[in-house]
């Protein structure tokens, strides 16, 4: 049997490093103080095997899905490893955290449970009253199991052994569902082989890590790929010790992230862009004086668009603490690629290019900007790893050259086998032997830059949302025309920001807009940056009546939204005035946001002007 071809072998192998392990900082008490629980790697292996035998004794077989709603890191990791050792396929799910949005939480949890075909749901005593109602709602879900019961079971009474479990690298290890709300959740199949390939790519090619000197620090949620694969699974590859903080402890008190790095001598830590903004925002001079960050070798940034300005502010803020600018490492990845696709080079500071906006938009080519003209600043996410390949594809599937903009595609042993029991989506994802990321970008001198997104996905504070789910909620509100709401994201300072545009016949649009904002807060926990209400027929649609999100976004950004539907544009002079308006607004548009070219927009406008749908009220 090849060594290190399954996660089971990684867990067994890491037990050789008896002087290292995982430290969990837990919220046990009545105050915010954290208590430390240390598990050496051999102890972790032993406990995982003990739990694995218990899972088998409950009737869980190889390949059965075990859904997990387990908020605490220690509990999560021990049960996750236990399930994997038993050949069971865990399905990590996010816990109920949002305030007073339990109904929508239960709905989306039910959809994930159904889609994964989970046999059992593992959760904690404290969470169980909230999720109990799922038991009657999901066909095939046989039992709810408490982590306390797994932890406290009497192992002397369990006679099952693990000898008959034969797992190969092609077997699914776990299912990764996207973290945001979606009406049609898809579970990414992460195989054992995927994990081993990506773990090696991360720990060796990307981080050049060494278990004897490195130490990871993470507050990332473990139901998300960056936290689970990056800090729970990949470090097993070479036995890098990790300190885990509760996610909520960071969100409640962002300063704790760098404090923990300093206190434990962390050398590797990762987070999405928004967290860099939070960590910088409220740090005081006194706190900065006490922080020691010179040993921090890798500060990775990924999972959402990277804003160069946020990164620079972070570097400046923490420079007095000894923070080394070379440590900042923009990276790119996604669950469908297991986790990592490309990492920036660690031996240099963050690198960015300023490309000419006009050439980018009109010719779909990235050309370095000159002194004049508008520029877009994009951060390099470096290169992919040994045995993997990144390329840029044009609309016809052809591979594009240096500087040409198209869809980022990826291939190699880290690419998923597909979506669980969803052949149609899998075919589209893996067409032509490449993983289609849905992201737009280009390569310049072998380095990858992400410049936009083909899909309509919205990423808010590191979580993915499909616009359909948001639009559906908006349409439930009285006064909003059914089937006439559009949600999209624009790039804000620290994260993307949500904009909703909807049609209404109601006169008092300001009051209704407030109602929409509040509704989104209550149901999905989202705060929209702006809700724009327009008259009937003002939203752009295709000839077959389908909503056009990208087009609505272009109209929003150029300020032409809703103006077209309420007037008849007959005379040439009015059209000229409108074209000028669009041209002028090109200079006032939101920074970093990439949109269609001016001639393209003019064509769209002209067709909108002609459409009878746009001029009737």
């Amino acid at each position: 049997m090849a060594k290190d071809s399954t996660l089971i072998e990684l867990i067994q192998g890491v037990a050789e490093h008896s002087s290292r392990g995982y430290t969990f900082l837990n919220n046990d008490g009545k105050t915010t103080a954290l208590t430390e629980h240390y598990w050496s790697f051999p102890e972790l292996r032993k406990e995982a095997e003990r739990r694995a035998r218990y899972f088998r004794s409950l009737g869980l077989e190889k390949g059965d899905r075990l859904a997990m709603i387990v908020p605490e890191g220690e509990d999560f990791v021990l049960n996750f490893f236990g399930a994997v050792m038993a050949g069971v396929v865990p399905v990590p799910m996010y816990p109920p955290l949002a305030l007073g949005k339990l109904d929508s939480y239960i709905d989306s949890a039910a959809r994930v449970l159904t889609s994964s075909g989970a046999k059992m749901l593992l959760t904690t005593k404290q969470v169980s009253p909230i999720v109990w109602s799922l038991m009657g709602r999901v066909a095939g879900l046989k039992d709810l199991l408490l982590t306390e019961k797994v932890r406290d079971h009497d192992s002397s009474k369990v006679t099952t052994n693990l000898d008959d479990i034969h797992i190969t690298s092609a077997d699914p290890c776990f299912l990764q569902f996207t973290s945001g709300s979606t009406s049609d959740p898809k579970g990414v199949i992460v195989t054992h082989g995927n994990l081993c390939a990506n773990a090696k790519a991360i720990m060796i090619d990307g981080l050049k890590s060494n278990g004897e000197v490195d130490k990871g620090v993470s507050w990332l949620p473990l139901y998300h790929d960056m936290g689970l694969i990056g800090f729970v699974i990949a470090p097993l590859f070479n036995g890098v010790p990790v300190v885990f903080l509760p996610t909520l402890a960071f969100v409640k008190r962002p300063g704790i992230w760098m404090e923990t790095v300093s206190k434990y001598g962390g050398t590797i830590t990762f987070a999405p862009n928004f967290a860099f903004g939070l960590a910088t925002k409220r740090v005081t001079e006194t706190v900065k004086k006490s922080l020691k960050l010179s040993q921090l070798r890798v500060l990775g940034c990924g999972a959402e668009p990277i804003n160069a300005k946020t990164m620079r502010t972070f570097v400046e803020t923490f420079a007095p603490c000894g923070f080394n600018p070379n440590a900042l490492m923009p990276c790119y990845g996604m669950a469908e690629a297991t986790l990592a696709i490309a990492f920036d080079d660690l031996s240099r500071p963050m690198t960015s290019v300023r490309i000419d906006r006009e050439t980018y938009e009109s010719e779909k080519v990235a050309k370095l900007a000159g002194e004049t003209g508008e520029a877009i600043e994009l951060v390099s996410v470096g290169q992919s790893f040994a045995g993997h390949e990144v390329a840029i594809q044009g609309p016809g599937g052809e591979l594009l050259k240096n500087g040409e903009v198209g869809e980022i595609v990826f291939r190699g042993p880290s690419v998923t086998a597909g979506y669980f029991q969803n052949e149609e989506a899998t075919r589209a994802l893996l067409e032509g032997g490449w993983l289609h990321t849905g992201d737009l970008g280009f390569q310049l001198d072998g380095e990858l830059y992400i410049s936009g997104r083909k899909k309509d996905l919205i990423i808010l504070n590191g979580r993915n949302y499909y616009p359909q789910a948001i639009e559906w909620e908006v349409e439930q509100i009285e006064g909003i025309r059914k089937g006439n709401a559009v949600a999209f994201a624009i790039l804000g300072e620290n994260t993307e920001e949500l904009v909703v545009v909807a049609e209404t016949k109601v006169q008092d649009k300001a009051t209704l807009a407030e109602v929409v904002k509040r509704h989104l807060q209550t149901t999905l926990g989202l705060s929209a940056k702006e809700v724009v209400l327009v008259g009937s027929g003002a939203l752009p649609k295709t000839s077959s009546g389908k909503l056009q999100r990208q087009k609505t976004k272009h109209q929003y950004e150029s300020g032409e939204l809703g103006r077209l539907g309420n007037r008849t544009l007959g005379s040439t002079s009015t059209k000229v005035a409108l074209f000028r308006h669009i041209t002028m607004s090109a200079f006032a548009r939101i920074r970093h946001t990439i949109r269609g070219s001016l001639p393209e927009r003019a064509r769209r406008l002209a067709s909108a002007v002609r459409s009878p749908r746009q001029v009737t009220r």
Binding site: N27, G29, K30, T31, T32, P71, P95, P96, L97, A98, L99, G100, K101, L102, Y105, Q126, V127, P129, I130, L248, V251, K252, R253, P254, F274, L278, R282, L460, N461, R518, Q521, T522, G525, L526, S527
Partner: protein, 80 residues
């Protein structure tokens, strides 16, 4: 025991500490937390500031069921 007014005052102070640009209107026990105008991350930051000021920790599962300022008051009284 803290009065409702005191807790609302404390909440408002915490919001200002997290982001002084947020405009807060009149608040009562019935004011829904989701209607205050904070996104989910900011709401948790505000909760974090309140925890520090009160030297308590709001258990995660209790946070999941909080709806309005009255619930927050009840929770704080239960914990202190």
């Amino acid at each position: 025991m803290r009065t409702e007014e005191e807790i609302i005052k404390l909440f408002k102070e915490a919001v200002r500490e997290v982001d002084h640009n947020v405009k807060l209107g009149e608040m009562t026990a019935k004011t829904e937390l989701s209607a205050v105008g904070l996104d989910s991350v900011m709401t948790m930051e505000v909760i974090g500031v309140m925890e520090e000021k009160l030297n308590v920790r709001f258990p995660d599962e209790d946070l999941a069921t909080l709806k309005n300022m009255g619930d927050l008051t009840t929770l704080i009284r239960k914990l202190s």
